[in-house]
């Protein structure tokens, strides 16, 4: 398994927020891709509802995973390829190491693949004394820097050109330049040597098609084609859910993938790999291995609440719109998958309790659902995870996250059934709040456990009288009466009679003060 640091969500989030460079790049990423993807969906001939069609295609595929994978494996094997079904990350890594050992591999060129990040392939190769080079430019940059990807599609989004300039000058020994074309050229040159001398190339799988018997990879740089064409051995890793039945279905998924990932109508290179090179071919790998990874996915599959998550194609459209991701960046999520997709899939793959802040650290704003190329209801699953954290769940080995919170909600549910007591409690709180420090009429500091609110903002105090009290105090509630009564009580237009934060004359006062 790769390093998991989901426990550090809050601390890492704070670091992300404090990094002005990161925030600027994230803002510009979301501006272009988040908005662009929404526009691209609208321009589809079928309209944004194609996402609903795609969802059904993926759901059907997931419901028939067993037969689809058997069909795919049979075709690839017929074409001379090897297929290995890995139950765990370790099985997948061990298989790859064994293939490498058999082929006396010293250098591996890697095409970008989040599943290899998930199973921790790089550290395992390094431990076996095999050099593994990431070849996607963004991945290459962060590998040189000794960091981890912070975005599924744009892994080096957190690095500036100045940082890359320093990095390349130090690591590649080139003259320092901040020009992206020159930096790209430097990486092109360095990696070309690697492509030409590597013994093994690895890749992920964007989507496989059972009917045709191919896996497919999508890239703009061409690094995946290089990594899967030039070395003697190609090992492809796929999450076991990344398959559709038919080519006409594949066509729909691909179109949405490219729009969701990068607002493109199609990626520059889409490659369909059906096995190793055939008789008479002069290039392509002699050996082709497909590693199909479960690593916790069958548990997701078995739970009807979460099965929908396996429809995900990791296009990262949700990252490009999520307001939380847009503030904290990808490292906070502490695993291969960041953003909303990470918030759901990481707890399911690595443990719900340790990733509890991923489940709860969102506002349920729903932007990810609208952005999802596969129309997946991520907020629904976040809520389902929160339920597990609330009460615990034996099947997922979840412990209740907080006994105190549980008691508090039990008390709350008792209270809200008793309006009289509820109002007494409010009265008590309304009296108690007078003791709190104020700025004008606004509360400046709250006591624990709710002090988080006033860390950076004030709080409007509770009203002296609730709406219900005021309503009850009205006389006979006829229409006209309602109108005149409250018109008198709250003469419109007078200062202080309206404005949230102005209701009790606060906002205005504050406004004048500012």
């Amino acid at each position: 398994m790769s390093d998991i640091s989901t426990e550090k969500y809050v601390a890492e989030a704070r670091r992300g927020i404090a990094d002005p460079v990161l925030r600027r790049s994230l803002a510009s990423l979301q501006e272009r891709f988040g908005r662009g993807t929404a526009a691209a969906y609208l321009q589809l001939p079928e309209g944004p509802d194609l996402r609903v069609t795609a969802h059904a295609i993926r759901e059907k595929a997931v419901a028939h995973l067993d037969v689809l994978l058997e069909t795919l494996a049979a075709t690839i094997r017929r074409n001379g390829g090897h297929v290995f079904f890995a139950a765990t990350a370790k099985d997948a890594v061990d298989y790859c190491l064994e293939v490498a050992r058999r082929n006396q591999v010293r250098l591996v060129v890697k095409g970008k693949s989040m599943v290899t990040e998930e199973i921790g392939l790089n550290p395992a190769l390094a431990a076996a004394g095999i050099e593994a080079v990431e070849t996607d430019l963004g991945e290459y940059i962060i590998q040189l820097a000794g960091e981890k990807p912070s975005h599924i599609i744009a892994p080096a989004i957190h690095k500036t050109r100045n940082e890359v300039a320093d990095l390349f000058a130090a690591k590649l020994g080139i003259r320092r330049t901040t020009s992206p074309p020159e930096l790209t050229q430097a990486a092109r040159k360095a990696l070309r040597e690697k492509f030409l001398t590597a013994d093994m190339g690895t890749s992920g799988v964007n989507m496989a098609c059972a009917e045709s018997g191919h896996i497919t990879t999508v890239s703009n740089e061409g690094n995946i084609r290089m990594a899967t064409t030039l070395p003697r051995v190609h090992v492809a890793f796929m999450g076991m859910e990344r398959i559709v039945a038919r080519l006409d279905e594949y066509e729909i998924i691909l179109r949405l993938l490219c729009r969701g990932a990068s607002v493109q109508t199609i990626g520059t290179y889409v490659s369909f790999v059906g096995g190793p090179r055939q008789q008479g071919d002069s290039d392509g790998p002699e050996e082709f291995h497909l590693v199909v990874v479960d690593n916790g996915r069958s548990r997701i599959l078995a739970d009807p609440q979460f099965r929908e998550m396996l429809c995900c194609i990791r296009c990262a459209a949700c990252l490009n719109i999520c307001p939380v991701y847009g503030k904290i960046g990808g490292h906070a999520y502490g695993f291969a998958y960041s953003g909303p997709v990470g918030a759901v899939v990481t707890p399911l793959l690595t443990g719900v309790n340790r990733a509890k802040d991923l489940c709860r650290g969102e506002t349920l704003c729903g932007a990810c659902k609208d952005a999802c190329s596969m129309d997946i209801d991520l907020p629904r699953m976040l809520l389902a995870l929160r339920e597990k954290l609330a009460y615990g769940d034996a099947a997922w080995q979840v412990e209740p996250a907080s006994r105190i919170e549980g008691l508090a909600y039990r008390g709350w549910s008792w209270l809200i059934r008793r309006r009289t007591v509820y109002e007494m409690a409010l009265k008590l709180a309304a009296t108690g709040q007078r003791l709190l420090p104020r700025a004008g009429a606004m509360i400046r500091r709250l006591p624990p456990p709710i002090h988080g609110w006033t860390q950076s903002r004030d709080l409007h105090p509770l009203a002296e009288q609730t709406f219900m009290e005021r309503w009850r105090k009205r006389k006979a509630p006829s229409n006209a009466r309602v109108n005149s009564e409250w018109a008198k009580k709250n003469p419109t237009g007078e200062p202080g009679s309206e404005g949230c934060g102005g209701g009790e004359g606060l906002g205005d006062e504050d406004g004048r003060r500012g």
Binding site: T363, G366, L383, S456, D458, H460, A463, T466, F467, E498
Partner: protein, 244 residues
């Protein structure tokens, strides 16, 4: 033309306890349209806070009570998009294993409207005779926009307010960072989000920010106050009830 229904007020707990005058403003607007209003004063909370925190049993307690109270109501109108989203979309889900309750929930849900949605879609009213001089911008609340798909209704109402110049802020549809308990549990992230929101409000040149959900407004108003900005935070009902 459908006859105007009897209206039952569904007052969000934040309106009830923090900003009762928002509820009163809504009452003035609805009464001004000649609607007959009633308000079950034993209502408390729809259960959303518990539901969003994962405490579904407790949320179910709140939901059952809500259904019992509002079952006999007319059109149920609330000045909160997220509460209506809760009733309309999460109640049926809460009772997915209790068919009888589910059916009752669905019946109640079908009659529950958010305030602006009710005015524009149900009553077909856009001009309520309001007057509010000045430049204002509108913040899209998440559950109203993406849960209930209410986007144009409040804008149409605001465009018909005499003297009001409606300007759009950047990313009006981005979450303000409220998220209920989120704002308390993850104050750093929440603060980063709401400060962005407030920056965009300021950049729009508006002196007033208008919203349809008190949760967001509580968050925005608190930040505006802390930053000492001359921005007024108002619920749309207050703007629509304004006459001078």
């Amino acid at each position: 033309m459908i006859a105007n229904p009897r209206v039952t007020l569904f007052i969000q707990c934040l309106v009830d306890t923090v900003w009762p005058h928002v509820g009163e403003a809504m009452v003035r607007v609805l009464a001004g349209l000649g609607l007959e209003l009633e308000c079950p004063t034993d209502q408390t909370c729809c259960g959303q806070p518990a539901f969003n925190s994962g405490f579904r049993r407790e949320a179910r307690v709140a939901a059952r009570r809500f259904i019992e109270i509002f079952e006999t109501a007319g059109a149920i109108v609330s000045p909160s998009g997220s509460c209506v989203h809760m009733v309309r979309h999460h109640y049926p889900e809460l009772f997915k294993d209790e068919p009888q309750w589910r059916e009752r929930a669905q019946r109640v849900a079908a009659r529950t409207y958010e305030f602006t949605e009710f005015l524009v879609d149900r009553l077909k009213v856009e001009d309520v005779g309001a007057r509010f001089p000045g430049r204002a911008t509108y913040h899209d609340s998440c559950h109203l926009l993406r849960g209930l798909r209410v986007k144009e209704q409040p804008r149409r109402l605001l465009r018909r307010v005499a003297g009001l110049e409606l300007v759009e802020m950047k990313n009006s549809d981005y979450c303000c960072g409220f998220g209920g308990a989120f704002a308390v549990k993850y104050p750093d992230i929440s603060a980063a989000m709401v400060n962005d929101k407030v920056d965009h409000i300021v950049a729009s040149g508006a002196k007033t920010v208008v919203g349809c959900d008190t949760g967001c407004l509580l968050n925005i108003a608190g930040t505006v106050s802390r930053r000492g900005l001359p921005i007024k935070t108002m619920h749309i009902a207050e703007v629509l009830a304004h006459r001078k």
